[in-house]
């Protein structure tokens, strides 16, 4: 655990140092830039609550990807499931009107249904035709993109607007706000605890984790891989769909073209950098949200383009993942050396390649 924390912190620091070097080359002041970045996202209650609100879709799509990757299915369909969830939520919000205490759960369920529907297509294609979900979900992403674009251009189009968008959903479907604190954070935290519990404390979660680590072992142990595959796909789709629904209900309250273009891919990125850990996903989601929310302030105060953050995020992912892999390799090497010493074999007489056959240099 401690080792893990160290690798992650070191990776993030190295990535941010790299970012600072880029800023220096371009003639910006790194300290001032990072100051503006974190100041804008963390300085006071107002900005921190904005950061929290923005973290919700990142964490939910991140959880979706983490659970999927850790259990086996390579569900890369979060962007599509996010959009379909959002459009389901908008349709519900436009044509149904209930009192808020019924409307909000109804819309949340509807958006989860939308996401699960979209991931379910990929799951069924895999189940019946053995088509790899990793390509089908990607293609379904593009299809969802155009499908929702069509939906907001024609059937759900708001006539008064200049660009494609839907009318506002009913006021009863807005997520309540306390000051600037949006209650979508509470929904996200609830979902986080449920997912954490299912994944770590139930039999189903145990079966998923084992299938993700070694599906053959799981199968021999009596785990119904195919049934689990379907439930994981549906659950992760529902999570991504929920993210889409919550963005609608807490943000613009309507579907605007280009909604969530980044959230869902960021979620996949967060899952990767978090090594598919549930708690790590929460923390990294928060951290990425700090970066993204702060990037606007950074641009306002120091004129560094906010796009720098997208580069920084990808660098963080690559550096942390590489650092983790390399660190584990080093630890394994040290452990092997120590064992050899115990057996009185001098490490110099051991072929380095035998220690780690994979570690052949270029």
């Amino acid at each position: 655990m401690k080792r893990n924390l160290f690798v992650n912190l070191a990776g993030v620091l190295i990535a941010m140092l790299l970012g600072a070097i880029v800023m220096l080359i371009q003639g910006y002041n790194p300290a001032e830039t990072y100051g503006a970045l974190f100041g804008y996202s963390l300085a006071n209650f107002y900005s921190f609550s904005t950061t929290l609100r923005n973290a919700v879709p990142l964490i939910l799509t991140g959880l979706s990807a983490s659970v999927a990757f850790a259990s086996g299915p390579v569900n890369l369909g979060q962007p599509g499931q996010f959009l379909i969830g959002a459009i389901f939520c908008v349709i519900g919000g436009l044509y149904v009107d209930l009192p808020p205490f019924l409307m909000i759960p109804f819309l949340l369920l509807l958006s989860m249904l939308g996401g699960a529907f979209w991931s379910g297509i990929a799951a069924l294609l895999k189940k019946f035709f053995r088509m790899d979900e990793f390509i089908t979900t990607l293609m379904l992403n593009m299809i969802a993109d155009y499908l929702t674009y069509w939906a907001i251009t024609y059937p759900l189009f708001e006539p008064r607007a200049n660009h494609p968008q839907t009318p506002l959903i009913t006021k009863n479907g807005f997520m309540p706000k306390w000051g600037n604190f949006n209650t979508n954070v509470i929904v996200m935290l609830l979902v986080f605890f449920v997912i954490w519990f299912i994944f770590n404390r139930t039999i189903a979660g145990y079966e998923w984790r084992i299938s993700g680590k070694n599906s053959l072992f799981a199968r021999i142990g009596g785990v119904k891989i195919e049934k689990n595959y379907l439930s994981v796909m549906l659950l992760t789709g529902a999570l991504a769909g929920l993210a889409g629904g919550l963005v609608i209900m807490s943000g613009p309250h309507r579907f605007i073209k280009g909604l969530g273009a980044n959230y869902a891919w960021d979620g996949i990125m967060i899952a990767m950098v978090a090594n598919n850990g549930i708690t790590a996903t929460l923390l990294y989601g928060l951290f990425f949200s700090i970066l993204q929310t702060g990037s606007l302030g950074m641009e306002l105060i120091t004129a560094v383009p906010s796009e720098l953050i997208t580069v920084l995020q990808a660098v963080i992912v690559l550096v942390v993942v590489a650092g983790r892999g390399y660190f584990e390799l080093m630890i394994a090497k040290i452990a092997t050396r120590r064992k050899l010493k115990d057996r009185d074999i001098h490490p110099q007489f051991i072929d380095q390649n035998a220690i780690n056959r994979e570690d052949t240099k270029l």
Binding site: Q26, V74, L76, L125, F129, R130, M131, D132, I135, T136, L138, M139, L140, N141, M142, I143, Y146, L147, Y149, W150, T153, Y154, W265, I268, M269, M272, P305, E307, L308, T310, V311, L312, Q313, A314, V315, V317, L318, V321, A322, G325, Y326, L329, R357, E358, D359, T360, K361, L362
Partner: protein
């Protein structure tokens, strides 16, 4: 007749970037690398091609920059996956997102625009008129007058086929994917072979990217590769890496794209834009059905 010719030329233009990227992908496929960074390589290539063409007023520099831009991504891929042994899948996804971020950031920094950059100063890659052939009545308009990159792609198909199946390098390439330990013990570093295959993939994706931003259209837009890298990966998987098969499948995808444009008269453009992705799903579907039948026979 003119509509037909237009449709066929549209097909060829749409197939070219997919074909080039898929040829790159097939090299890494044979080398046993799960390479999904074609999307990022293509995007980076497209951006740097515009950069080179705009600042040096020359399409040759444009292509050169495009290839270098794609190689940049390939080198990072090599550094992470071969050198540091990071999971190829994670590296690929990370790099694709890195390419999106990098090109958007540079677009903003260098050209001071958001979304898209277009300028009369960008020199497109010329179309090549072949002297004798261009006078043939109908075929002339298809065989001649295509973009230079289209001909490069055609040559690349033949070259890659020869490279993979007829040369020593090709044998080692396939060995690296088939049994890398065996290759290593016979004295050839499989990592070196993988390095070469990724560099070649970078070059081919660079051509694909240059074609996107200097041939197909003469501008750069954010994320303009639009899933073509993924489609090309699907193409590689569909034909298990055979270069000639890839050429056919790419033409099929090109046809789907052209069909989409053709359908635009009767359907909303959002649906016609979906056609290539739906076609990919259908192709994968047919592939899996055929595979099932084959397995049933055995």
């Amino acid at each position: 007749m003119n509509i037909m010719i237009g449709l066929i030329n549209g097909m060829i233009a749409a197939a070219t970037p997919i074909l080039l990227a898929a040829l790159g992908g097939t090299l890494t496929y044979y080398a046993g690398i799960f390479n999904i960074a074609m999307e990022g390589m293509m995007l980076s290539g497209a951006f740097f091609a515009v950069l080179g063409s705009y600042f040096f007023h020359s399409w040759i520099v444009g292509i050169l920059f495009g290839v270098l831009g794609a190689i940049l991504i390939a080198l990072i891929f090599i550094f992470f996956s071969i050198f540091l042994k990071v999971d190829e899948f994670v590296t690929g996804v990370g790099l694709n997102l890195f390419a999106v971020g990098l090109t958007t950031y540079l677009l903003r920094q260098i050209f001071n625009v958001k979304g898209a950059f277009t300028d009369p100063g960008i020199v497109p890659i010329p179309k090549i008129q072949i002297p004798m052939i261009q006078n043939i009545p109908v075929l002339g308009k298809i065989l001649s007058g295509q973009n230079l990159i289209v001909y490069i792609a055609l040559i690349a198909v033949i070259f890659i086929t020869w490279l993979v199946f007829k040369t020593r390098f090709g044998l080692r390439l396939r060995a690296a994917g088939y049994n890398s330990t065996c290759l290593d013990t016979s004295g050839v570093s499989s990592n070196l072979i993988r390095f070469h295959s990724l560099m070649l993939c970078g070059i081919l994706c660079g051509f694909a990217g240059s074609f996107l931003s200097l041939g197909y259209v003469t501008l750069f837009t954010e994320n303009m590769s639009a899933g073509r890298g993924w489609i090309s990966l699907a193409a590689v998987i569909l034909v298990s890496g055979n270069p000639l098969g890839i050429a056919l499948v790419s033409l099929l995808f090109g046809f789907a794209d052209g069909l989409g444009l053709f359908l635009q008269q009767s359907l909303p453009s959002q649906f016609t834009s979906m056609v290539p992705y739906v076609a990919t799903l259908i192709a994968l579907f047919i592939y899996s059905i055929r595979k099932k039948k084959k397995e049933a026979l055995i």
